[in-house]
Amino acid sequence: MSRLRPGETCRVDFSRPLEFSFLGREMTGYAGDTVASALYGAGVRIFGRSLKYHRPRGLYSMEGESANTFMSIDGVPNECAETTELRAGMAIEPQNVRGDPGRDRFGFLDAFDRLMPAGFYYHLFHRPYALWPLFQSGLRRMAGTGVLDPGAEYRNGVRTERYLNADVAVIGGGPAGMAAALAAGESGLRVCLFERRGRLGGQMTWRVRDFEGEPLYRRAGALAARVRAAENVNVFTRSPVTGVWGENLVTGFAVGTEDDPFRECHWECRATTVVVAAGCMDRPLVFNHNDRPGVMQVGTAWRLARTYGVRPGKSVAFSVADDLGLEAAIDLDDMGVRIRFIADARESGQQGPEVFDALCDRAIPFFPGCAVSRAVGRKRVRGCVLRSLKGGRSRRFRCDLLVANAGMQPRIGILATAKARLAYCTHTHGYQPTELPPGVFVAGSMTGLRDPRSIEASGRVAGYGVAEWCGGRLKSVAGARAPAREAEALPGPGAGCGIIHAPAIGRGAKAFVDLDEDGTYKNVKESIARGLDVPELAKRFAGFGLGPGQYRVAGQNLAMIMADLRGDPVETAHPTTVRPPLGAPSLATLAGPGHDVHKRTPLHSELAGRGAVFRRAGAWQRARHFGDDPSCRDEIRNVRTNVGVLDSSPLGKFRIHGPDALNALQRVYMSDMSKARPGRCKYSAMCNDMGQLMDDGVVVAEGPGDYYFTTSSARAGDTVEWFRFHTRHDDWDYNLVNLTDVLGSLNIAGPNARRVLERLTRDNVSNQAFPYLACRRITVGDGVEARCLRLGFVGELSFELHAPASYVPYLWDLVMEAGADFGIRPFGLEAQNCLRAEKGHVIIGMESEQRVTLTDIGMGWMWDREDTVSKKVGAPALRACDRQPGRLNLVGLRVEEGAKAPRDGTLVVDGDKIVGYVCTTRSSDTLGWQYGLALVHREHAFPGRRIHLCHEEAPGQRVTSTAFVMSPHFYDPRGERLRS
């Protein structure tokens, strides 16, 4: 096998082989491998096929910078082979290819690129239009990469979420990030350090170059040990950052190892300050056929060898543009990898002296001022053409691996999401921040630093800078200036390489600017020719940076190439907007454990025990009906003829007290609330400023400046907000207490309700002592004191008991025991809905909507028209719309018997005009006919009018019926039953 033994930098444990399969073939990797390194180690070179041209693609990056190596792993599509750690037994399949990616039946598309210029589909396939759907479905099938099974649930492993608070979030666990974390931690700050790889140290973990007497990886290891031991520093590895959001909210996710109790953990860290030390990545060199398997980044080849112990190639060509690239080539040479040549896009003399000396010590052909202009070989690299940047000379070489870049570029993604202002720096030839958001600091190699001491020192400077920013929290700022002085004495940012692309670009070959979307240099030219001449438009037109790798591969190159093609100076180039999330998190991880936290009434288990079918109503889970009859006929009949009990606990219940309590009530309720009396329920409603009904309920005076009131269940959560909002300028002295959860409530309703209540209490509940709309305190059972309200929402004699929630199950037992002889039974929301509708009582949101006011739905009687001093919310609107023609009004309907009955939502029509709709309609056993509550235009809203109804029962099946308009108070219109 092609494994090396690289020594201490290696993180692969060769004593622990892991079996896995690729395309059904058994293969072996080792603990510590990623899927990509294991595949490469097992000899796989072609990892998949590209999106548009189906070109073979191989391992290019190690950090998921392109979708080349996306695989289906254990059935999960689009998993990134480069960053996914290998586990035993993984079943791995390539994507966007049938069978072996080495033999792909769509490979011929590569030859047809001339027919597919940027945005070609906008100019094709639409004539004749009838054929378009056919083309479209073909295009659709060609697009996309992974295959998702919509029937699968992908419930692999535990997902958790974690919320952190920190003074400093350090992003990047390289030497700069570690130094920053240590400095900040020493200052007494709470530090969270996030590193996307499995261990700390960044690129130092694979660099063996001797520095101040020890190899770099050991220096990094020592730093990492200090960070791990630091008291205030919380280290998160395998934790890519997905973005820095407003005011330094840092988000990301942690990938668990087999020892962790989670598979992935979504985390959010609210930090006062952020140190971004995200490091650098290769800037791709754009040359002809730069996408061939066997063309890879410097870091990729280097890490294959040093971190994973995989021989990256047998005969390797290097075309690089900075010292790090040279160091990599030298190191590979030292490991016994044959280096064919090293080309450096920089001129002779621009190399660092140490690395240049090392180069001279070795017999590697070195070509300054040159770059690779073409990769040779179809399915994998077999050679390359080297050219001088000044033009002219070219030379062909054989090789099986071509390591190429245009130097290093800073990883700007995190800074961009943090909204730092970035500009092209003509010294480092990368984007550098010109303006940082408050509390954001930058350190390390992304600032252009190359000297290891400078990199560490910049971290320390950032760490102390952060400490200073956090101010008061500091244990000591003493010495904060010293690191800055120290750093100034060290080498500053190194000069970068401004090469835009390789020479002889595009001549009869594709040169890729974006790998995911197969975006070529030629496509950039075509975009410009179409007038889509800035990166942001080219991105939309030709797809640059729209694939899974996003901006990473295309970003800086696209901007530089466009500026170059337009003839603008390179520093005017603006890359496309970097959008989060940076390391794509899975929806499973973002969704987290997915707890459904909702409210349950004190009687939930009692109701469940009686066969309740629950529905979500706002925050609550409530019983809709009992048993298996959703129409609730028995529940309804039992209330009408006997007695039923409803768990009405979610009802909003409040206390308002204080000198201005009445003023507040007058403001929000439409009635004259000064008429609220002790022992008496005053019914009223609240409107918004448009006169639309918002809420209704009763108010009971409890004492001077002290009231108890109820709201609808849906509004309970908004009531305090509403009161305070509409009195916010008044400086009134009143207090609200939300008793909704304090008190449970039971509504005992039906002609036998009093007889049940009599068995529960020794208090006098006769009609004389306890008339309709009275409110009394009664003692129930073994001394439970309850508020009892005699109301009639369902149209029957009914008593509503409000008692402390913890007693309500006990109360329920008493009620069911007392009612047993009568055959008491619970009823649910649907029965209540039918009962109240028969009575003509509205439910907000069912018989009211945006277009209707309180008066429109027949409740205008409660509005105190004379009152203008309270500035009642909604009163001006009611006044304005009082006699306005063309409004919708609430009416009752008696449906004529016919073949098909209307249903809720049925339209009221006049010819082909819609003049209203039916809100609620039921066939009533009580009435013996079908009634309806409808909102219809005022012109049709008079009793006796015959109207037409129609609705769509099933596709193509229109049901029509007729009805007579009548008063909505169908049942007991004079309220005798309520008062009995």
Partner: protein
């Protein structure tokens, strides 16, 4: 860009803990002689230039207090 608001009771908190209550526009107008048009304008019509405005927020997930703050709709940041 998740921003934070300074609750006078609880301090800086994530904006998603709050309810937006709209621009500050003074107390409710007196109702005597208030025309329908004046009322509906006051209720719904707003001038929203791209510059800081004083507005109301309610800390519904926290202390339950309405407060005023000045925020720039061009940056979503509080202006002190």
């Amino acid at each position: 860009m998740t921003f934070r608001l300074t609750c006078p009771v609880c301090g800086k908190r994530d904006v998603y803990e709050f309810t937006f209550g709209g621009q500050e526009r003074g107390p409710r107008p007196e109702q005597d002689g208030l025309s329908a048009e004046e009322h509906f304008r006051w209720t719904q019509f707003r001038l929203i230039p791209n510059e800081p405005q004083e507005e109301w927020w309610y800390h519904g997930q926290g202390c339950g207090v309405w407060f005023r703050t000045t925020r720039d709709p061009g940056t979503n940041r509080e202006v002190r």
